[in-house]
């Protein structure tokens, strides 16, 4: 087409492509694809985003004209006991799950990085399986496994002489189950991210350290941990976003709408869902959604920053 095309430098890493779309033919396909792309973004992303924000500032019960009430929804939402507990629980799960996930990801990735590990490929597949298992299936598995009367966990505990635990019907037990299931579901994914980071570490450093007589533990603390800090930061942000979206209590405690015993397991994602679609409290649910949205957006921005810097050096 254009003359400058053939004159282009051969370096393919140029960030700006030189081919101009105008005379490349297939205008209908190009126009159609771009139009479809834009309409989907506009109709299913932008409009719901603005509409939700609008609803969060109005009083509306599903019929009639929404009435402007300013930040009243937010004020009510933040003083609602269930929503408060949901935010507190989500904070608690963040404190429980994020550090555990980050530490376990590093340990598991170190194991999966050992060339001498038998069946290494199979183990990588196995630890990733829960990540693709439907959350409902995981919940069914663990409500049965953790059942206080006939669950296999309690059967095992009693076999070794320990007392049975009331996992799903006590507040502490419920929180432990939610924590366990969350880690079980996402650990394979965060481990693969960590494994990717491990594989970019320069081997020369380790060889030099071994020549200097550094022990395995010293090498881990002085080489692996500092060099992995970028990747581990990414892993903890990924875990943080995962916990912010934690919805599994909804499946684990169906009898209480996902709230759990004494509302011990209710998370912000669950409370928003129940408020919107069980109780039809659209304004309140939209306000919760906007709050979580702002929070998630900020976290994601940090993630982007970390991800850029962690890739910068490798």
């Amino acid at each position: 087409m254009q003359a400058r095309l053939t004159l282009r430098p051969r370096s393919t890493s140029a960030t700006v492509p030189v081919r101009r779309l105008g005379r490349a033919g297939a205008p209908l396909v190009v126009g159609g694809a771009l139009a479809l792309f834009l309409s989907i973004l506009l109709i299913f992303q932008l409009i719901p985003l603005v509409w939700s924000a609008y609803l969060s500032l109005h009083s509306w019960a599903g019929v009639g004209t929404p009435r402007w009430i300013g930040i009243s929804n937010y004020a009510r939402v933040l003083s609602d006991p269930t929503i408060r507990i949901a935010f507190l629980n989500t904070g608690l799960f963040i404190l429980l799950i994020v550090p555990l996930l980050t530490a376990l990801s590093l340990l598991l990735a170190l194991l999966l990085n050992q060339v001498l590990l038998p069946l290494r490929g199979a183990l990588r597949v196995l630890v990733f399986l829960p990540y693709i298992t439907p959350a409902v299936v995981a919940a069914i598995i663990f409500t049965i496994v953790f059942n206080e009367r006939f669950g296999q966990i309690n059967a095992l505990l009693q076999l070794v002489g320990l007392p049975a635990v009331n996992w799903l019907k006590s507040a502490t037990g419920a929180r432990l189950v939610v924590t366990f299931v969350a880690i079980w579901q996402v650990l394979g994914y965060t481990t693969l991210i960590t494994l990717g980071g491990l594989q970019t570490l320069p081997t020369e450093l380790y060889e030099a350290a071994m020549l200097d007589g550094a022990s395995a533990f010293q090498r881990f603390w002085t080489i692996t941990v500092p060099l992995m800090s970028g990747t581990l930061a990414v892993v903890s942000i990924v875990s943080l976003l995962f916990v912010l979206n934690l919805f599994s209590p909804y499946f684990l405690f169906p009898a209480t709408n996902g709230y759990g015993p004494e509302r011990s397991a209710v998370t912000v994602s669950v409370v928003q869902y129940v408020y919107a679609f069980t109780n039809r409290r659209y304004g309140d649910a939209a306000a919760v959604g906007t709050l979580v949205g702002i929070l998630g957006f900020l976290i994601a921005l940090i993630q982007l920053r970390l991800w850029r810097t962690s890739r910068g050096w490798s």
């Binding site: 051969r10 492509p17 297939a26 409009i47 038998p118 299936v137 496994v145």
Partner: protein, 292 residues
């Protein structure tokens, strides 16, 4: 790293010892991941009364097929065979994934290799959507599909998901790395227009990338509950996640544990098989950090 150094310089007996230690640690690690699947598998062949015995179950005793047969025949409050829900899940996930792959790979081709007004803006817009948490749009999304008359249709689970930011971003990177400019330029000289280039040069070269994005998207669509639950009230349209939840969420005194476990196996199996077929590409794709 440790291991590699061992393998060169250390005597073989230490190497062998290290292998045994690793084997032991590996098995211990595998147990919490594998055992829940094993338990649900053996329980699915047991009657409810045996499942509810407070003992350790190592093997189905007695072994029955009843749980599966009752699911096939739809002997449950839904009165729908489980095959119907699995077929619905296939329809849902395929209708979401295949058009997504075609549209996103074409858009990624435009963003990667062509210049046009608004290119940076459009690409930035697509990236920005990745940073909107679903909770921020959920309520209005539901109201929107109600207004569109899309309840109890598959459209709300197809159309809005055809241009995910992660797919466009990933495929754009992939095309930049895998499709050399020289090949496209040669095609241009031969008079191939942009769409023919896409079809005969780009698509074949990015097939491995399409597999990774496609399988992950298919799995996500298959596992969706949050959106499907808003859309479907007609039980004949239930995808497998809603079908499963009808057991989990039912308020009957003694749940049908046998059918629940069998239904879990049947509705998890298709995507686990799909994942196992493509596990090599997906694991290495995720490890290399291509998708995040």
């Amino acid at each position: 790293m440790k291991a590699r150094a061992h393998s060169r310089s250390e005597p073989t007996y230490r190497r062998r010892l290290w292998r045994w230690v690793l084997l032991l640690v590996g098995i211990t690690t595998a147990l919490p991941f594998a055992l829940p699947y094993y338990v649900v598998l053996i329980l699915s062949f047991m009657p409810r009364s045996a499942i509810m015995q407070p003992t350790l179950h190592l093997w189905p005793d007695p072994w029955i097929w009843d749980n599966y047969l009752r699911l096939f025949r739809g002997e449950w409050v839904l009165q729908v065979s489980i095959f119907r829900s699995i077929a619905n899940s296939f329809l849902l996930a395929t209708g979401q994934t295949i058009p997504m792959l075609l549209l996103c790979s074409f858009l990624a081709f435009l963003f990667a290799k062509w210049d046009f007004p608004g290119r940076t803006l459009l690409f930035g817009l697509s990236l920005a959507t990745m940073f909107i948490p679903y909770q921020a749009t959920l309520v209005a999304f539901y109201l929107l599909i109600t207004r569109l008359g899309w309840l109890n249709t598959f459209f709300p689970l197809w159309v809005p998901w055809w241009v995910p930011g992660f797919a466009i971003f990933f495929l754009r990177q992939y095309i930049r790395a895998a499709v050399p400019d020289e090949l496209l330029d040669a095609g241009l000289i031969d008079g191939a227009d942009l769409f023919r280039q896409y079809r005969s040069i780009v698509l074949p070269l990015i097939l491995p990338g399409l597999v990774v994005v496609g399988v992950l998207n298919f799995v996500n669509a298959w596992n969706d509950y949050i959106y499907s639950n808003l859309v479907f009230t007609n039980m004949h349209l239930y995808p497998s996640t809603l079908y499963l939840y009808s057991f989990q969420g039912s308020r009957i005194a003694v749940p049908e544990y046998g059918m629940m476990t069998a239904a879990s196996i049947l509705s998890g199996l298709p995507i686990i098989v799909l994942f196992l077929i493509f596990q090599r590409q997906i694991i290495s794709g995720l490890t290399r950090g291509a998708l995040r």
